[in-house]
C-alpha cells in the first residue's frame, strides 16, 4: 500500500516538474525577441511573405517571427477577450483586422495599442482609408487593403444578349435593371446574386452614396436620409424587376457562381481570388463599377466593403513591431506586388500603387483588374464606419429582407432601421 502511494506521489511530482518545465519556454520566450503575428485568410499569406522579405532584407536580425493563421471569428474573439481583460500577454505583437473593428479597439482599449502616428505619412493614403484609422488626430493602425466595391459580371452572358462590355460601364441602377431584363430574356439567367439578409449590397450602396448608418460623430444617420431611402428602394426595384437570384446566405454565392445562376454580383474586391478559383470559367468574367443611385450628384459608382488594417499591441517589442509593419505593410513594394498579383489585394498607399508591377491575368480576359481596382479606389467616398457597423449590418439585413418580402413599406422599414440605430447606440 505504501509502495503504491509512493509510486503515485512520484508520478504526481514528475508530472508537476514536467508541467513546470513545459511552462518555462513561454516565460523565457516573452523575454526574447519573438514577434507573433495573427491574421486570417489571405492576410496571413501577406504576413508570411512579409516575414520572408524582411528576413531576406535583414539577414542579421535576431527577431524570431511566428505567424499564426486562424479563422477570422476565432481571432476576433481571442482579441476581444484579451483586450477586455487587459491581458496583453495573451495578445500577439501584430494583428490584422477589418476596418469595422477599428473604432471599438481604439475607443475602448486605446491604451493597449501602440500609436503609429510618428512612423509613417498617412496623407499618402486614400482618404476613405485614412479616416478609419485615425482617432483624435492620432493613427493607431497601418491602413492596408481596400475592399473596393465593384461589380463582377459574366461577359459571355452579356454578349449573348447582344451587349458589350462598354454597355456595362458607368451604369445607374435603373440602366442596370433594363440590361438585366434584356439579359434574362435572352439567356434565362438572373442578372444579379443578392442576399439582403447579409446587407453586403446594402453597405456598398450606402457608401457609394457617401452615407453610413452613423455620422462622423457617431449619431444615427438614418432619419431624413434620402440616400438610405434611395438605396433601399433601388434594392427593392431589382427584386420587383424579377432579375435577382436570391440567396439566403454567404455560402450560397459560391454555388450560384459555380453553377452560373446569375450574370453579376456586387461585392468587395476580395471576391476576385474567390472567383478565379473557378478556373473553368476563365476568360468569362470582367469587373466594372458598381451601378450608382439616381437622385443626387453626390451618388457615385464607387464604394468599399471592409478592407483592413495592421495593428500593433503595446508591449515589450512594440517599437520593433511598429517599424516592421511600416517597413513591410506600408512601404514594401515587393510585398505589394506579390499580394496584388497573387490575391488581388491592392495597396491603399498611393506610392505603392504608383509602383505596382502588374502581371497579366488571363482569367479576366485581358482586363487589367488590378489597375482598375486602384483607379476605382481614387473615387471611393469617405465615410466613418465608427462603432456598431456589424451590429447595424446584422440588424438592418433582416429588416431589408422583410421589406423586400413585402412585410414592411419603405417608410416602415426606414422607421425600424432608425429605431435600431438609436437603440444600438448611435444617438448619444
Amino acid at each position: 500500500m505504501i509502495k503504491t502511494s509512493l509510486h503515485q506521489w512520484a508520478v504526481v511530482v514528475i508530472c508537476a516538474v514536467v508541467a513546470l518545465f513545459g511552462m518555462l519556454p513561454t516565460s523565457i520566450a516573452s523575454e526574447t525577441k519573438d514577434i507573433t503575428i495573427w491574421a486570417y485568410d489571405n492576410w496571413a499569406k501577406a504576413a508570411e511573405k512579409a516575414v520572408e522579405i524582411y528576413q531576406n532584407n535583414h539577414p542579421g536580425s535576431d527577431y524570431i517571427f511566428h505567424v499564426v493563421t486562424m479563422g477570422q471569428d476565432d481571432m476576433v474573439q481571442k482579441v476581444k477577450v484579451a483586450l477586455s481583460t487587459g491581458a496583453t500577454d495573451a495578445l500577439p505583437d501584430i494583428f490584422y483586422d477589418e476596418d469595422y473593428n477599428y473604432a471599438e479597439y481604439i475607443l475602448y482599449y486605446g491604451d493597449m495599442f501602440h500609436e503609429l502616428t510618428p512612423y509613417f505619412d498617412l496623407t499618402k493614403y486614400y482618404p476613405f482609408k485614412a479616416v478609419n484609422v485615425t482617432t483624435d488626430g492620432a493613427v493607431y493602425a497601418i491602413p492596408y487593403d481596400a475592399g473596393t466595391g465593384v461589380m463582377f459580371y459574366r461577359t459571355d452572358l452579356i454578349q449573348a444578349a447582344g451587349l458589350t462590355d462598354e454597355d456595362m460601364d458607368n451604369l445607374t441602377w435603373e440602366q442596370f435593371i433594363k440590361i438585366g431584363k434584356k439579359v434574362k430574356q435572352a439567356t434565362g439567367v438572373d442578372m444579379i446574386i443578392m442576399c439582403p439578409g447579409g446587407d453586403m449590397e446594402g453597405r456598398i450602396l450606402y457608401q457609394s452614396a457617401g452615407t453610413w448608418f452613423f455620422d462622423e460623430n457617431g449619431r444615427e444617420n438614418i432619419k431624413d436620409n434620402q440616400a438610405f431611402r434611395d438605396a433601399l428602394a433601388a434594392m427593392n426595384s431589382l427584386y420587383q424587376a424579377g432579375i435577382v437570384w436570391d440567396v439566403p446566405g454567404w455560402d450560397d454565392y459560391f454555388a450560384a457562381i459555380a453553377n452560373g445562376k446569375a450574370v453579376a454580383l456586387v461585392g468587395g474586391s476580395w471576391w476576385a481570388p474567390i472567383i478565379t478559383s473557378y478556373q473553368e470559367q476563365s476568360g468569362l468574367w470582367r469587373i466594372t463599377q458598381v451601378p450608382r443611385l439616381t437622385g443626387s450628384d453626390a451618388y457615385t459608382n464607387y464604394s468599399n466593403l471592409s478592407g483592413g488594417n495592421w495593428f500593433v499591441i503595446e508591449k515589450e517589442n512594440s517599437e520593433f513591431a511598429s517599424q516592421f509593419v511600416v517597413e513591410m505593410f506600408a512601404n514594401n513594394q515587393e510585398l505589394a506586388d506579390f499580394m496584388a498579383n497573387e490575391y488581388y489585394i491592392v495597396p491603399t498607399n498611393r506610392d505603392l500603387v504608383a509602383g505596382l508591377t502588374v502581371l497579366p491575368h488571363p482569367f479576366w480576359g485581358g482586363q487589367d483588374i488590378i489597375t482598375t481596382l486602384c483607379r476605382y479606389n481614387e473615387s471611393v467616398p469617405s465615410v466613418v464606419y465608427g462603432l456598431n457597423a456589424y451590429e447595424m449590418t446584422y440588424t438592418v439585413g433582416p429588416l431589408v429582407r422583410e421589406y423586400i418580402n413585402g412585410k414592411y413599406t419603405l417608410d416602415e422599414v426606414l422607421a425600424k432601421i432608425y429605431e435600431a440605430a438609436v437603440m444600438i447606440g448611435g444617438n448619444f
Binding site: Q77, G86, E104, P248, R401
Partner: protein
C-alpha cells in the same frame, strides 16, 4: 461509528475533485456572470447599473424575438423527440435478437456523438439552392425553381428542427429504452394474457411507468433548445430575417461580434438560465398535478 466516519471522509475525498471541478467550471462562472450582468457599458468602460441590463432586455426586440423563436422550436422539437423517442425505444425493446438490439443502439446513438459542426455543414450543403434536398423538393414542386429551403421562414425553421430531432432523438430513445427495461415484465405479460392490444399495453403500462423519464427528456431537450447555437450559427445565421435567431446566437454576437458588451451578454446568459429553470419547474409541476389527478 468511527469506521463509518472514516469511510465518509474517504468518500468526500474521492468526491472532492469532481466537486471542485463543477464548482470551478459551473458555479464560479455562473456567479461571475451574474455579477458581470450588473454592469453596463462596453469594453472596459463599464459601470454598475444594477438590474438595468435586465430592464433593457425586456424591451430588446432582438432578444424577445429570439425568445419567441426558442418557444417555437420547443413546440416543434420536443413533441417530435418524445414521439419518435418512445417509438424507437419500444421497437428496440421489442426486438428479440440481441445482436440487432446492439447494432440499432449504436446506430441510434451515432448522431448524438457526431460533431454538430460536421453535421450542420453537411445539412447546409444538401439544402443549398442546388443541394440534393432542394433538388428533390423542387422536383416535387414543394419549392419553386428560384427558391431555396433556407429562404423561407417555415423551411428554415423546419430544417433546424429536423436536424435537432435527428441529432438528439437516438440518445433519448436509448434512455427511454432503459426505462422500459426497468418495468416489471410480469405486468406486461399479465396484460398480454388478458388480451390487451400492443397499443393499450403501451398507453396503459409502459407510458405511465416511464413518465418520470419522459419528464426528464422534456427538460433536457428544452434546455438544449434554449441553448441552441451551432446549428443556427452555421446553417441559417438566424435567418431568413430573424426567424431562426436564438438567444445563444444573440449572446455570442453581443459579446464577440458586435462592440463587446460583456455585461449585457452575461444578462442574456442569466436570463436564459432563469428561463430554463422556469421551464423545468413548469414541466415538473405539470407532471405532479397531472400525476395527482390520475
Amino acid at each position: 461509528m468511527r469506521k463509518n466516519r472514516a469511510h465518509c471522509r474517504w468518500k468526500l475525498l474521492f468526491l472532492l475533485p469532481a466537486m471542485l471541478t463543477i464548482v470551478a467550471t459551473v458555479y464560479v462562472p455562473l456567479v461571475y456572470a451574474f455579477y458581470l450582468s450588473l454592469f453596463g457599458g462596453r469594453g472596459r468602460k463599464i459601470e454598475y447599473v444594477g438590474l438595468g441590463n435586465y430592464t433593457k432586455l425586456m424591451s430588446d426586440d432582438m432578444f424577445l424575438s429570439s425568445l419567441v423563436n426558442s418557444f417555437i422550436f420547443t413546440a416543434i422539437i420536443v413533441p417530435c423527440i418524445l414521439l419518435l423517442g418512445c417509438l424507437l425505444a419500444y421497437c428496440l425493446w421489442n426486438l428479440k435478437s440481441s445482436a440487432a438490439k446492439r447494432f440499432l443502439s449504436i446506430l441510434y446513438f451515432m448522431p448524438s456523438v457526431t460533431s454538430p459542426v460536421a453535421y450542420s455543414l453537411f445539412f447546409k450543403q444538401i439544402t443549398y439552392s442546388d443541394g440534393i434536398v432542394s433538388g428533390i423538393l423542387k422536383a416535387l414542386h414543394v419549392l419553386s425553381d428560384e427558391s431555396s429551403l433556407l429562404n423561407s421562414v417555415a423551411g428554415a425553421r423546419i430544417l433546424i428542427s429536423a436536424i435537432c430531432v435527428w441529432s438528439w432523438t437516438g440518445f433519448y430513445a436509448l434512455i427511454l429504452r432503459a426505462a422500459i427495461d426497468n418495468i416489471n415484465e410480469s405486468a406486461i405479460e399479465a396484460a398480454e394474457m388478458d388480451g390487451a392490444s400492443t397499443s393499450k399495453i403501451f398507453r396503459k403500462i409502459i407510458l405511465p411507468n416511464i413518465s418520470p423519464v419522459l419528464v426528464m427528456v422534456c427538460i433536457l431537450s428544452s434546455c438544449s433548445i434554449f441553448e441552441l447555437y451551432t446549428e443556427v450559427a452555421l446553417i441559417t445565421k438566424g435567418g431568413p430575417g430573424i426567424s431562426t435567431y436564438t438567444m445563444a446566437l444573440y449572446l455570442y454576437r453581443k459579446a464577440f461580434v458586435y462592440v463587446s458588451e460583456f455585461g449585457y451578454a452575461s444578462a442574456i446568459g442569466i436570463a436564459v438560465f432563469v428561463l430554463l429553470i422556469l421551464v423545468c419547474l413548469v414541466i415538473i409541476i405539470q407532471k405532479k398535478v397531472y400525476g395527482n389527478e390520475k
